[in-house]
């Protein structure tokens, strides 16, 4: 069932507004950031929680940027290998809660003016969505 998840306001200042919306067909996403500045620090602290609808043996993340209607792959990485799980959340099973709290480094330091779309998708070994979020960043 293709439910429209609500848009979540992550942060809002005079110069910046960041929203996100889950693009996982099965569930909404819980996410917070500790910074709300157009000058992006080296790392930001995030908190994220989700309940696994599928088990994770392998996990990869794909980040796509959207600007002026165009969408370009920006970043992708393997987060979990099967033989040597790199992180605590690797190997978790369907139904388990994943909670991560800590720094995440972004690949850019200054936000372009205007609207920027960022799609972050985490996929498991079977290409099932583990986390999917569309961020919209409005910078004035």
């Amino acid at each position: 069932p293709s439910i429209e998840w609500p848009t979540h306001l992550l942060c809002k200042t005079d110069r910046l507004e960041v929203n996100y919306r889950s693009c996982d067909p099965l569930q909404d996403l819980a996410f917070s950031i500790d910074t709300c500045s157009s000058v992006v620090p080296e790392t930001i602290n995030i908190r994220i929680a989700t309940i696994l609808r599928y088990s994770i043996r392998k996990l990869s993340v794909e980040v796509t940027l959207g600007m002026n209607g165009a969408s370009v792959p920006f970043y992708s990485k393997e987060l979990c290998e099967e033989d040597h799980p790199e992180f605590l959340y690797c190997g978790k099973k369907k139904g388990e809660l994943i909670y991560y709290e800590g720094p995440v480094s972004l690949g850019f330091h200054e936000l372009p003016l205007g609207d920027l779309g960022v799609k972050v998708e985490l996929l498991n070994q079977d290409h099932h969505t583990i986390i999917c979020a569309n961020f919209t960043v409005k910078s004035h």
Binding site: P6, H8, L9, L10, A30, R47, A49, L97, Y99, E101
Partner: protein, 620 residues
């Protein structure tokens, strides 16, 4: 296809104060009912089903001040969940398994004061957002899985008064963990029921607490080590029956010498090598609670506790009152020795040095005294409250209370009183205001038994027996002309003579319930303006109208559990009753017994038409 009727929710929630306060507790609701008025201020929404809180969940209730969301199966609290509730002061989230609290979860309320996160499955302080909590007074994190007390630098301290970490799994506390508390004064910090194994030396120094509660923590030494140079009004180090703890040795308490503490609570602790040394560092205490500690005496050779005002020794094993070594506490105003586990011998003058003692509670301590209470209470000239209730047997001789002539309250409930005196035993108690003699088996035939009680305001005599089962016109109450409250419940009374209480001009409250009275004798009282008369559980069948018409002003009567007749013989009561329902207490249980066809019907529901020869009953 089956159909389900959706009840309008305003039919289901209970209105406690119109438009202001509602209880929707346990109604199986999955959302806030539309029908609640926008100006609702208090909402109890406990025991329903919400799953997640979002901005839209509560957005309509803009005037909300108090919100109880206990056990609503809430897992997720998203940003701005209370974003439209600017006036919200209290949020109770007890018993929800909170998987995520967004950073902006509590943004919105201008002045959130009380946040209760009891049993919410939290495992770290860092999962609790601090945004929007700047004005917090109370933060309750009871019964979670928090392992570290690491308070962040932006922890809200401005108005903080009460911080509860009871029943977490904190084992170690460092000075750095609680450094932000140096900004707070008079905080109550509850760390009870944590398995605290180590506190950094002086971690709590230079912080000023109102209460520090380390109750039910195993090792007191570890705690006192951390409290060196700290300051607190009250320090709670007690235990409970279902927790094992290390017994306290004199060495363990030495840490108290370097702590500023006024009240020390040690209930349910046990002592090892209990001696004068145990008290070495307690000299500056104002209050000491050693209830339930299995002690039978306080040690001899005690340091003088000159500042001690209150001493609680409840549920211990004292055999003789002199074993409390009263001379070590010359300035005591309160002693409690309730529920002593052995029969307590009051001795003679054991408390003689306590000239400032005002409150003395010996209740439930198996006391039997053949010569009470002059000798035992010798020297207690300041005593105002004396509780000897629920003991075995006391024998009063002449001038039984001549040492304690300033008594204001005397409670002898359920203690057998024997009087061996020519004078009234209370004749010295000219200042006594409250006397409870219920179930004391006191002999009410002794003349002048209330002699001297000219200032008595409250007298309770429940469960005692009057000769002839009757209150005569010429009775003992005339000795206490200022009585305002008199209770004679369960006294087996069958009659009250006319004007029996006419000397009690100030009487406002009279309890005659659970007797065998057959008449509602309002003519016994001097005034029926603003009086409360309880005649419940008697044997009254009929009340003539003229017994009722004088009840005026704010008077209230209770006639419940009487075998009232709902026939034309009783038309006087029945008519008056419906016109004066504001004067009736417990109309729910004020029911007919006759005729049999109406047995159990509320008087209020009876419509009786009585002609000369016919009677017609209509049940509304």
């Amino acid at each position: 296809v089956s159909c389900e009727v959706t009840k309008p929710a305003d039919m289901m929630c209970t209105e406690l104060i119109a438009n202001r306060s509602y209880s929707c507790e346990d109604l199986g609701l999955k959302e806030i009912p539309e029908q609640l008025p926008n100006i609702t201020q208090v909402l109890d929404f406990s025991f329903n089903f919400l799953y997640s809180l979002q901005q839209s969940t509560l957005s309509k209730l803009k005037d909300l001040v108090y919100l109880d969301l206990t056990r609503c199966q809430i897992n997720w609290v998203y940003e701005d969940a209370f974003g439209n509730n600017a006036h919200l002061e209290t949020i109770i989230l007890t018993g929800n398994n909170l998987l995520f609290l967004a950073d902006r979860a509590f943004s919105g309320p201008h002045s959130l004061k009380h946040l209760d996160l009891t049993q919410t499955g939290l495992s770290s302080l860092s999962s609790i957002p601090m945004q929007g909590l700047g004005n917090l007074e109370t933060l309750i994190l009871k019964d979670n899985y928090i392992q570290s007390l690491e308070l962040p630098s932006h922890f809200p301290t401005r108005n903080l008064k009460y911080l509860d970490f009871q029943m977490n799994i904190i084992q170690r506390i460092s000075a750095e963990d609680i450094r932000v508390l140096k900004r707070v004064s008079n905080l109550t910090l509850i760390l009870a029921d944590n398995d605290i194994m180590h506190i950094e030396t002086k971690a709590f120094s230079s912080i000023f607490f109102y209460t520090l509660d380390f109750g039910r923590c195993v090792n007191v030494s570890v705690i006192l080590e951390g409290l060196q140079d700290a300051s607190t009004v009250a320090l709670r180090l007690g235990n409970s029956l279902d927790r094992d703890a290390l017994p306290i040795t004199p060495t363990m308490l030495q840490g108290i010498c370097n702590i500023s503490v006024d009240y020390l609570y040690l209930p349910y602790r046990h002592f090892l090598y209990f001696s004068a040394d145990t008290f070495q560092c307690l000299a500056k205490l104002q209050k000491l609670d050693m209830a339930h500690t299995d002690i039978g005496e306080l040690p001899t050779g005690l340091v003088q506790l000159n500042f001690l005002r209150e001493l609680n020794l409840d549920k211990n094993k004292f055999e003789h009152l002199c074993n409390i070594r009263a001379s070590a506490f010359p300035n005591l105003t309160h002693i409690s020795l309730r529920g002593n586990l052995k029969g307590l011998d009051l001795g003679s003058g054991c408390l003689g040095s306590l000239s400032k003692l005002q409150h003395l509670d010996f209740s439930r301590s198996q006391i039997e005294s053949a010569d009470c209470c002059s000798k035992p209470l010798r020297g207690l000239s300041s005593l105002q409250h004396l509780n000897l209730s629920y003991n075995s047997k006391l024998r009063f001789h002449n001038a039984a209370f001549n040492e304690t002539i300033n008594l204001k309250v005397l409670d002898l409930t359920s203690t057998q009183i024997l009087i061996n005196a020519s004078q009234g035993p209370f004749c010295n108690l000219h200042f006594l205001q409250i006397l409870n003699l219920s179930y004391s088996k006191i002999d009410l035939n002794i003349p002048h038994i209330l002699q001297g009680l000219e200032n008595l305001i409250v007298l309770k005599l429940n469960g005692n027996n009057f000769e002839s089962k009757t209150i005569l016109e010429d009775n003992l109450f005339q000795q206490a002309p200022n009585l305002e409250v008199l209770t004679l419940s369960s006294c087996k009374l069958s009659a009250i003579q006319t004007k029996a209480f006419s000397s009690l001009k100030k009487l406002k409250h009279m309890d005659l319930s659970h007797n065998n009275l057959i008449a509602f004798s309002s003519d016994a009282f001097s005034s029926l303006r603003n009086i409360y008369l309880n005649f419940a559980n008697n044997r009254i069948h009929i009340i003539p109208r003229d017994m009722l018409t004088n009840l005026s002003g704010q008077s209230v009567i209770n006639l419940s559990y009487n075998p009232l007749e709902c026939t034309c013989s009783n038309i006087g009561l029945l008519t008056w009753y419906k016109q004066n329902i504001d004067k009736i207490e417990d109309s729910e249980e004020t029911v007919c017994s006759e005729p049999k066809s109406l047995a159990g019907s509320k008087l209020l529901s009876i419509n009786l038409s009585c002609g000369f020869s016919t009677a017609q009953v209509v049940l509304i």
